[in-house]
Symmetry: C3
Subunit: 399 residues, 3 copies
Amino acid sequence: MSEKITNIINELEKLDYKNLFQDDFLHTWDKSQEELQAIFTVADALRAMREENISPKIFDSGLGISLFRDNSTRTRFSFASACNLLGLEVQDLDEGKSQQAHGETVKETANMISFMADVVGIRDDMYIGKGYKYMKDFSSYVQEGYDDGVLEQRPTLVNLQCDEDHPTQAMADLLHVIHEFGGVENLKGKKVAMTWAYSPSYGKPLSVPQGISALFTRFGMDVVLAHPEGYEIMPEIEKIAEDNAKTYGGSFTKTNSMEEAFKDADIVYPKSWAPFAAMEERTELYGNGDQAGIDRLEKELLEQNKQHMDWAATEDMMKLTKDGKALYMHCLPADITGVSCETGEVDATVFDRYRVPLYKEASFKPYIIAAMILLQKVENPVETLKQLVADAKERQKNK
Amino acid sequence: MSEKITNIINELEKLDYKNLFQDDFLHTWDKSQEELQAIFTVADALRAMREENISPKIFDSGLGISLFRDNSTRTRFSFASACNLLGLEVQDLDEGKSQQAHGETVKETANMISFMADVVGIRDDMYIGKGYKYMKDFSSYVQEGYDDGVLEQRPTLVNLQCDEDHPTQAMADLLHVIHEFGGVENLKGKKVAMTWAYSPSYGKPLSVPQGISALFTRFGMDVVLAHPEGYEIMPEIEKIAEDNAKTYGGSFTKTNSMEEAFKDADIVYPKSWAPFAAMEERTELYGNGDQAGIDRLEKELLEQNKQHMDWAATEDMMKLTKDGKALYMHCLPADITGVSCETGEVDATVFDRYRVPLYKEASFKPYIIAAMILLQKVENPVETLKQLVADAKERQKNK
Amino acid sequence: MSEKITNIINELEKLDYKNLFQDDFLHTWDKSQEELQAIFTVADALRAMREENISPKIFDSGLGISLFRDNSTRTRFSFASACNLLGLEVQDLDEGKSQQAHGETVKETANMISFMADVVGIRDDMYIGKGYKYMKDFSSYVQEGYDDGVLEQRPTLVNLQCDEDHPTQAMADLLHVIHEFGGVENLKGKKVAMTWAYSPSYGKPLSVPQGISALFTRFGMDVVLAHPEGYEIMPEIEKIAEDNAKTYGGSFTKTNSMEEAFKDADIVYPKSWAPFAAMEERTELYGNGDQAGIDRLEKELLEQNKQHMDWAATEDMMKLTKDGKALYMHCLPADITGVSCETGEVDATVFDRYRVPLYKEASFKPYIIAAMILLQKVENPVETLKQLVADAKERQKNK
C-alpha cells in the first residue's frame, strides 16, 4: 500500500462519521464537522487510488439514478463518473422542467425506479421553496417503501443542487481550497469574498452563494457576502452562516460594496445570481402558468442586473486582494467579458490566469460525490478501503 | 448457502424447461407450465440472492438493447434493472412512435445493433396487428444473421409489451399472487375479476386484460372478464383463455356486469382499456396518416368511455368481494379518483389501502425479466446458480 | 489457449506499433503500415476471444464518451459495443447539430467531461474544414489538461467520422476485404472501384470515398475513383492517395465513367456523396445562418444529382466486373432502388445477393474501434492479451 493512501486511511480512522451510514446528503449544515472531514478524506483516498490505478469498485452491479429537473451536462458527468468509479451504472430519469406534482405521483415514481437503485442523485434548483422539499419527500417515500418491504434496500440520496444548498459544489470548492492552502488547519482567519457579479443572463440560482456562505463559515474563515441591494440570499441561510461564525470562530459579514469584500481577500468567488424575491415571484408565476408575467419579470430582472455592470472580477478589482493574488474561484461556466459575452462576471485575462486552478476546483466534484455515496452505503469504510487497497485490482490493465 | 436459496434451486431441478434455452419470450401461451414455473423459481432465486447480497452476474460484459416504440419510464427501468443485475449494460434504441417500415429496414437495423447484443427487449403495443408481428420479424432476422455467420451469438428477445400479450407484467402479477396466496398450489378455485374500469384518458392498450386472461386461466383459477359492451378483447385471446380453462381445470367467463365479476372475487384487477375495434381503426388511421380521423376517433372514444363512469373500484364495489377483502391489483399507474383525475378507475381510499401490495406487485417485474434472460441464455441454470451462490461474491462490499 | 488466438498474438509480436500508445486515431494516413496491421490483428484477436467466450475486459471501471454532432444509431452502437467489450461505460454528450464555438468553450467542456474518461469518440462530419479541426483542438485541450495536472489521465480520441476521413469505417472495410481475399498479401494488384452513385437524398459526407481512397491505396491495390464532373473529393486527399500509390506499388486513377471503373474490378464500392464545392458553400451558409441560401443549395444539389441517375450498381453494371462477381461493398444504409427509394444507388437484386457480406463488413467496426482503444491505452498489448487468454474469464457463464 502506498504511504499516501495509508496516511489518508489513518486519518479517516480518527473521525466519527457513523451517522452518515444509511443517511442522505442534502444540506452541509445537517452534518457534523467530522462527517464533512470524513467525506474530504474519502474523496482524497478515492482520488489517490485511481491515480495509483487501484480499482475502488464497491459494487459488482447496481444502479445510480440521476433525476434532473434541468439540463446539466457537467453535473450529469460528475454523477456518472462517481457512480462508474464505484461500480454503479447510471440511468437517467428525465422529467422535464415542469414543476412536478408531489404526493401520490412522486411516491409511486420514487418506488418504481428504486427496486434496484443504490443511489439517487437529484438536481432541482429552479423553484424557491420546492427543490429541497422535493428531495425530503422523495427521501421519506423510499424510506417508507423500504420499511414496507417494497424495496430490498433503501437508495441513498445525494443533493446535486437545490434551491437552498449546492453541497457537492461547495464541498468540492472547499476541498480545492484545503489543497491550495495546504490543509484544513490553514483556513482559520482567511478572508473569503463571496460576491455577486454582473451577468447578461437571467435567473441564476442562489444555491452557490448560499452553499459557500453556510459551509466556508464552518472552518474559521472570515466570509464576506457582497451584493447590490435587492440581491439578498435566503435569510435562513444567512442565519446559518452567522451561527457558524459564532460556533467555529470565524466571521460572517455582509456588504453592498464589492471593493470592501475584495480588499485583502485570500479567496474571491464573484458570481451572478438572481434576487431572492424575484425567484420567489418566478416560482409563483410558473405555478400559475403566467407566461406574460414570466416574460415581464425576465425583462425587469435583466434591466435590474444592468444597473450593476461594474460588479466584475476585473484586473483592477483583483489588485485589491491580498498581495493582488487571491485565489479566484468559480463553479463554471463563467460569463467572461469579451469571450462568452460582451460584459460579464470576469475579465478574460483574470479568468485565463486562473484557468488551471479553476479546472482543478471542478475536478474534485466526482470524488466528493463518490465519497458521499461510499460513506452512506458502506458500514465500515476503513476496513473496506484497506481491503480494496490490499486487493489492488488494477482499474486498467497494463496502464 | 442459505437454506432458502437451496430450496429454491432444488425446486428448479425438478422442472423441465430446456426449451427456453436459446429461445425468445414473446407469449406466455407459447410456453409450457413447467417453463413458466421455472421462470418464477429463478425470479425467486435471483431476488433471494440479491437480498442476501450475493451477486448474480452471469455476464462479464455484454449489451441489453431496449427498443421501445413508446415512452416508458417504468418498463425502461425494469429492463435496465434486470440487465444490470446480470451484468449487461443497456443501450436504448429510440425509434420514435412512428409505425416503422418492416422488411429490409428492420432486418438491417436488427443485425446492425446486435453484433454484441445478448438480449433485446421490445415494447411495441400501439398498433393492433403490428407489435407481435414486428417482434416475430425481428426474431427471424437475428436468427438469419446468426445462421449466416453475421452475428457471433443470437440475441434473445423479451416481449416488454405488444398488441397481444404483456408477458412480463402478467408473470410479475402472477408471481405476486403466488406469494400473496402462499404458493401456486393455493390458486385453484380462486375467483379473479379482470374488469374494465373508467378512465378519462384515451386508448390504453389491451395487452394487460389479454395477458391476465391468458395466463391466470392456466392455474385452475376462475377468471371472469368483465367490460361494457363494445370493449371486447381480441377473440383469439379469449379462445386461448377458454382452452386453458378446459385443460387446467379452471374457468373463463365473460360478463357485462362489473358487480357480477366482483361478487365473492378473491382478486380484482379493474383497469381501463380501449375497445378492440377502435384500436383496429386507429391502426388504419395512423397507417393512412389521417390526422382528422384520429382526432375524431379520440373524441368518440372519450365520449364512449364517459357512458361507463360507474365502472370503478369504489369502496362499495370492494364490499362485494370475498369478505370485502379481495386482493386489489393494477399494473400502475392507476387513474385515482380525486387524485390523478376527477373520476377514475379506483377510489383514493381503496388505492391507498392497497398501496403496499401494489408496489410489491410491481417489484417482481425486474426479477421476472432477469429470469427470462437467464433461462434463455444459460444452458445449465441449476449448475450456474449453485456456482454463483458458492462463489458468494458480494453485490456490494460491506453492505 | 486456442491455436487461432495464439497465432494472432504471435503475428502481433512481430509488428512495431509502439507509437499508437497514448496517441489518438484521427487519420489513417497519420499511421504507419505496421500500426494499421497491429489494429487489424488486435481486432481479429478480440473477435476470436469473444467467439471463444473469453472476456477481453481491460477496464474494471471507466468511461467512454461519445460526442456526436449528428444523430447516428449505428455509429453509436458500434462505439458502445467496443467500449462495453473492454469494460467501459458509455456516456453520450449530445451537443446538437449546431456549429459549436471553438476555443474557450470547447477547452472547458473537454476538460469537464474528461476527469474520468478513458476514451472519447467524436463524430463531426457536417462541415467541411471544421470536423477534423475540432478533433485536433479537443485533443490539444485534453493534453493541456493532463499536462497541467487537471486530468488524472489523458483520454484517447477515436475519430468516428470527420470531414476528411472515416477511419473506423475504412479500416473495418479493409479488414473485411482482407478476410474475403484470404490475407493482406492477396490484395496486391486488385482493382477497387470507389464510385459515386445516384441518391435522391442530399448532402452525404465525403469521408467514405476519401477514407477508402487514402487507405486502400496503401496495400498495393489499384484504386479507381469515379464520379460525375463536379463531384470531386478534397484535393489534399487525392494527393495522399497518389503518394500512397507511388510508395506502396499500386495505383490511383480518376475517371468520370462508372463503366470504366467497374470494368474487371475485383471490388466495387458505389456510394453517393455531395460535391465538395457545395459542401464548402453549405458550411459557409450555415455559418451565416442563411436559411434561404441553404434551401436554395439543397434544391440545386438535388437537381444536379438527378442528372446522374444512371450512376447505379445495376445488374448490368455488375456484369462488367471481374467474372461478373466483384465484391460489392457499402457502408450502409444504402439507397436501394424500389426498396428504400424509387431510384437509388443499387438494384434490389444486387443488394440482396450481397446482403450477408455487407452485414459482415459492418460487423468488423466494433472490433476495429476496440482495437484502436486497446492499442492506445495499453502499454504492452501482447502481454495483456496473453494474460487475458490465460485467465480465460468467461464473458458469459455457461454459454
